[in-house]
């Protein structure tokens, strides 16, 4: 499967493209430092915590917590203006990496820091590539 939404920024470099290709298959690829164990999402060639170059790719489990969020009421772009209001969250994945992503299926007034979230992958044109929704209680 290839990456689908026209909003994606690809073609910058092969490692960035790889991130979005993996997202297109329904997974979030993280980098884990072999030296200090830090996880991060940006496709950097070395660890931002300790500088070591040895990294492994691991697939995030998909769960995380809401760190902060913005409710967008005004959008500068026509395609986004049709979507307001929408929520963009800063999500701390359980592995420790932070992502920005859309948050849906929860009223903005019900959002709280620490809310448990799970990643979903709409995989449709015009939809964000990753959308977090409240984790279903087991």
């Amino acid at each position: 499967m290839t990456v689908m939404t026209d909003a994606l920024i690809t073609g910058l470099d092969p490692e960035n493209d790889h991130f979005w290709e993996v997202v297109g298959t329904g997974s979030i690829p993280l980098r884990r430092c072999r030296t200090c164990g830090t996880h991060f999402a940006l496709p950097l060639p070395s660890c931002p915590e300790c500088g070591a170059a040895g990294l492994d790719e691991v697939i995030a489990a998909g769960g995380g917590e809401l760190y902060s969020w913005v409710v967008v009421h005004y959008a500068w772009d026509a395609d986004l203006a049709a979507q307001v209001p929408y929520v963009v969250g800063a999500i701390e994945l359980d592995e420790g990496a932070r992502l920005f992503a859309r948050v849906e299926q929860v009223e903005p007034s019900a959002l709280v820091a620490g809310l448990r979230l799970m990643a979903t992958f709409p995989g449709e044109a015009g939809r964000p590539p990753i959308v977090f929704v409240p984790e279903v209680q087991s």
Partner: protein, 394 residues
């Protein structure tokens, strides 16, 4: 912090002149025309001839300005020795004053203009221009595209951790407007009540329109020279006593990238405060005034805490108590800030400090103010100055 990292230009370099165009929403002029006007005016304001100018440094965002070389050409400078264009945003103004001071101090140039020029409202708008690069690739696909949104993300977390509310953001906007009513340059000059603030439309919750800077067309320049020369010029010298640029670990790929920054309630001011005050030789409780970069209301709260002007979570209470308003014990953003005067990307924040310390801020002039702290930037990296009024030679 000891003085072991004290910068070589502190105490021996100065700001001596300011040039500023009118701030408008539609200049109808080229960026070059405004840049040249601001630079020419700054040199004249200092009492220098144009042929005394041998350095220009500027910053731009996504190529929205003109080059220092171009401005030097338009001004007919006979022998430029230091021309530099930096691709940075709001973190730049104080940093560029530092670079100009370093150039003066090391003999690379004698008199350096620092300018910012943009048609920021009628032309390319900083806050909502989509930048290229890897950082944006991790924001734009989610509709996370503009600076009001990026900084609102910090503001939300800050209010959560400090137990604050939207009223804390409103307090900044209301207090600064009290200054703006007396500033003929300000675009937003009508008084603002907290009730009116709460009626302002939501842009990127928790930010309303009233939390956002007023985009503007215009240009601003300041003249940096040696303290020795400044004492023989037209106005009282404003000595650079403290200065720092910096960030922390995991600063990110660009100014909007906070994916790796551990704590979105503390910005660069937290990282550079010790070096800034250590170099200046005064502490945050000894400074008379503050001009704090305020593209958005929350950055004033983060800077007040980061610099130690306020205790954790106490900045809004200080502002509500009137401490930062006209007549208060620590006047802040006495031009109304970028929120009210207009967005010359923080170059006008530096300019207001100079106007104030030279006693040239009209009815806004803070009587007896001898020192001022200035910040540039709102996010993971930024810069700051501590300035002191000196006296001209008799």
């Amino acid at each position: 912090m000891t003085d072991t990292r004290r910068l070589g230009f502190l105490g021996t370099t100065a700001l001596a002149g300011v040039g500023m165009t009118e701030l408008t929403k539609r200049s109808g002029r080229s960026v070059m025309s405004q840049a040249v006007e601001a630079c020419r005016t700054a040199a004249e304001d200092a009492g220098l001839d144009l042929h005394d100018i041998d350095g220009i440094i500027s910053f731009s965002f996504n190529n929205d300005s003109v080059s220092s070389q171009g401005v030097a050409t338009a001004l007919g400078l006979p022998r430029p020795r230091y021309l530099s264009d930096v691709s940075l945003g709001g973190q730049a103004p104080s940093f560029l004053v530092m670079q100009a001071a370093a150039a003066v101090s090391t003999g690379m140039a004698r008199n350096v203009l620092v300018f910012r020029a943009l048609n920021g409202r009628s032309g390319q708008r900083v806050g909502s221009t989509r930048a290229a690069g890897l950082g944006p690739a991790f924001r734009y696909p989610y509709g996370f595209t503009a600076y009001p949104q990026f900084i609102a993300m910090w503001a939300r977390r800050f209010l959560i951790e400090t137990g604050g509310s939207e009223l804390d953001l409103g307090a900044v906007a209301v207090a600064q407007r009290r200054w703006a009513v007396d500033n003929e340059r300000a675009i937003r000059r009508s008084p603002l009540t907290i009730e009116q603030y709460l009626e302002s439309p939501m842009i990127a919750d928790p930010f309303r329109a009233a939390d956002c800077t007023t985009e503007a067309d215009g240009a601003c320049a300041v003249l940096v020279t040696s303290a020795e020369q400044a004492r023989d010029l037209r106005h009282d010298p404003v000595i650079i006593e403290g200065a720092a640029y910096g960030t922390g670990k995991r600063s990110g790929l660009d100014a909007g990238d906070a994916l790796l920054w551990p704590d979105m309630t503390r910005n660069y001011t937290h990282d550079i405060a010790d070096e800034l005050w250590g170099g200046a030789g005064i502490g945050p409780h000894e400074v008379d005034m503050a001009q704090l970069y305020d593209c958005f209301s929350s950055s004033v709260l983060l800077a007040m805490e980061g610099l130690g002007l306020a205790e954790r979570g106490e900045a809004a209470a200080m502002i509500r108590a009137g401490d930062t308003s006209p007549g208060g014990r620590l006047p802040v953003n006495t031009n109304g800030g970028l929120l009210a005067e207009g967005y010359l990307h923080g170059m006008n924040t530096v300019a207001e400090a100079v106007f104030q310390l030279q006693g040239r801020a009209g009815t806004r002039t803070v009587a007896g103010a001898e020192t001022c702290v200035v910040t540039s930037g709102a996010l993971t990296d930024g810069s700051a100055l501590v300035l002191r009024r000196d006296r001209r030679a008799a």
